[in-house]
């Protein structure tokens, strides 16, 4: 794509290229400067800070440590525990959210893709939570998760079981707190995915389904042999975005549980922010950030690889 674009405007005269050259640089300059100042430089700074013992508000000159911060995070048995624990939480969270949210998004998209009157009206409701800020989502769900009898989920449980199941502490119990956050996140985010899958569904030619019906393939066979393969690229995209979003998890944790109970909902980003702002340890926080970015880059490369394979098959 890039190569074609470069050749596209074939300049007839040399003078024209000179003009384009100036125009191209001028048009790019504002965005380029902003990106360098506020994205590239901070990231380079993160790497630089990670090599020093930098403390927030400290008057001591930073001491150069080399890769000591990385060693502490990754290899020192005394200090690496929190990091691995948080990373594990990220992955467990992804393991819950990615299949559930993607599956739900597919189910909802198929349900809302039926040719029925007023279907657009229903679609609206599933997308609605996307416009809710996370700080508000958390407030509503705090009452759903409330550990006393008046919490919504406990009230439903007790109504359904006739009072046999006692109240559960949805976000105070280390074993289920992360799952609770996951369910809330799915509610807040599934509409976004649903819309993307819906767009993918609408691109599948209806002839494929008609041919399958003539061959007497049932709905399930059609789903497995037509819908899923046609959605492959859409689903790779959705899965990758959801995975990366799971690794970035911060707002929900900060607002709902502050990483607790017993670090059971702590995540890498939550640790990085806590290290910097609560312990003032900017160096360690930056090192964690750099590791975090490397993980994201690896995941993105895997995605590229999956998409490329698809192109080769075609």
């Amino acid at each position: 794509m890039t190569a074609v674009a470069a050749k596209a405007p074939k300049p007839r005269k040399r003078r024209k290229l000179g003009y384009d050259n100036i125009a191209g640089i001028l048009l790019s300059l504002p965005a380029l400067l902003l990106l360098i100042l506020f994205v590239v430089i901070p990231f380079v700074t993160a790497f630089y800070l990670s090599l020093f013992n930098v403390r927030m508000g400290s008057s001591h000159a930073p001491v150069f440590l080399g890769f000591e911060q990385y060693r502490r995070i990754l290899f020192d048995p005394e200090t690496s525990g929190t990091f691995y624990h948080s990373l594990l939480n990220n992955f467990v969270f992804a393991l819950i959210v990615v299949p559930l949210q993607t599956g739900l998004a597919i189910a909802l998209a198929i349900m809302l893709n039926q040719k029925l009157k007023g279907i657009a009206f229903f679609r609206t409701f599933f997308f609605l939570p996307v416009v809710f800020p996370m700080s508000l989502v958390v407030v509503i769900w705090t009452l759903f998760f409330s550990r006393d009898d008046f919490g919504m989920f406990n009230s439903i449980l007790s109504a359904v079981s006739g009072g046999a199941i006692g109240p559960i502490d949805w976000i105070g119990e280390p074993a289920i707190a992360l799952t609770s956050i996951a369910i809330m996140s799915i509610w807040a985010g599934v509409g976004f995915q649903m819309v993307i899958v819906l767009a993918g569904l609408q691109e599948i030619p209806t002839e494929l389904y008609e041919a399958a019906s003539i061959d007497k393939a049932g709905k399930w066979l059609q789903f497995v042999h037509i819908t899923l393969p046609s959605l492959r690229n859409t689903l790779v995209f959705v899965v990758m975005v959801t995975t990366i979003f799971s690794l970035r998890l911060f707002d929900q944790v900060y607002l709902l549980t502050s990483g607790g109970p017993l670090d059971s909902t702590s995540t890498v980003m939550f640790q990085a922010v806590t290290l910097a702002f609560q312990e003032g340890n900017v160096g360690a926080s930056s090192a964690m950030t750099v590791v975090f970015v490397l993980i994201i880059i690896c995941l993105t490369l895997v995605q590229r690889l999956l998409l490329r394979q698809e192109k080769e098959i075609k």
């Binding site: 965005a31 809302l112 996307v130």
Partner: protein
């Protein structure tokens, strides 16, 4: 299929869709009903859905609570959010579409390098630079400036514009160039009018991200004068004696304008989200 089975199937479809919708919007309904109920009747399990003893008292309370220098003024949270989001959206549309056009349609020195940089930056999440950004911008804490400036240029928006511009037919642009129109004129008079869908998409996606922005304001703002709405919500929630009705009223005031905008332009919202899944 007979007409009768068709009708039954349709009714069943509607039934399941309605049921799923009801479950899904329950938290939203709970928010709106709760905002109108007395504080001690909100956290009441399933009874929280029963609309009784309704009044607008909680809304009055919200405005009364945020009516001094110390707490910040409620309308000021709104203005902050509107102002910051507007600058991010409008500034972003201008600078990001400009660079995308230069990358897609012009030949200049360093073009491939810049394109590579943009593609690389698309995958860099904001969280990765939040802490050093705090370090670098610490002198600008508690300003509007610090809340919008890092978000105006966005590699993701550039990428969306770029893929759209590449897909535009180039014949009209080229013949205009041959007739002597410069690149700026082609961009303003030919490319922009042809690109309304991508401008709409970027506007909506940028607006949603800017309006809901939380982590960065949390780091940079601790004064009531420049606090954006989502942060104000969380501060209010944490300080409060858990007067749920009042908190919910705050929540409704926070989300209602966006909900109205969303309902009015939902077709565009849904299209832009669908188009954000650009082909890898």
């Amino acid at each position: 299929m007979s007409r009768k089975t068709k009708t039954i199937k349709k009714t069943l479809s509607y039934f399941f869709i309605s049921l799923a919708t009801l479950i899904f919007v329950a938290p939203v309904a709970y928010l709106f009903i709760g905002s109108l109920k007395p504080n001690d009747e909100v956290l009441a399990g399933l009874a929280g859905f029963i609309p009784e003893h309704l009044s607008f008292k909680n809304y009055g309370k919200v405005f009364k609570t945020f009516d001094s220098e110390a707490t910040g003024y409620f309308w000021n949270f709104y203005l902050t959010s509107i102002f910051v989001s507007s600058v991010v959206v409008i500034g972003g549309l201008i600078v990001n579409s400009m660079i995308a056009y230069a990358l897609a349609r012009l030949r200049w020195h360093g073009r491939n390098l810049v394109l590579g940089l943009v593609v690389l930056l698309v995958i860099l999440p904001f969280e990765a630079i939040a802490v050093p950004l705090f370090d670098l911008l610490t002198d600008y804490r508690n300003t509007y400036f610090v809340q919008y400036i890092p978000f105006v240029a966005s590699a993701f928006s550039v990428f969306l514009f770029y893929t759209f511009f590449i897909g535009l037919p180039s014949e009209i642009q080229e013949s205009a160039r041959l007739d002597g129109a410069g690149p700026f004129r082609v961009f303003l008079q030919i490319v922009i009018p042809m690109s309304k869908p991508v401008f709409a998409s970027v506007t909506i996606l940028t607006f949603l991200a800017a309006w809901n922005s939380f982590l960065f304001p949390l780091m940079m703002v601790d004064s009531g004068d420049v606090r954006p709405l989502p942060l104000a919500m969380s501060v209010f929630y944490q300080q409060q004696q858990k007067e749920w009705g009042t908190i919910f009223a705050f929540g409704v005031l926070l989300v209602l304008p966006v909900m109205i905008v969303f309902l009015a332009f939902q077709r565009f919202f849904i299209q832009s989200v669908a188009s954000s899944a650009v082909k890898g």
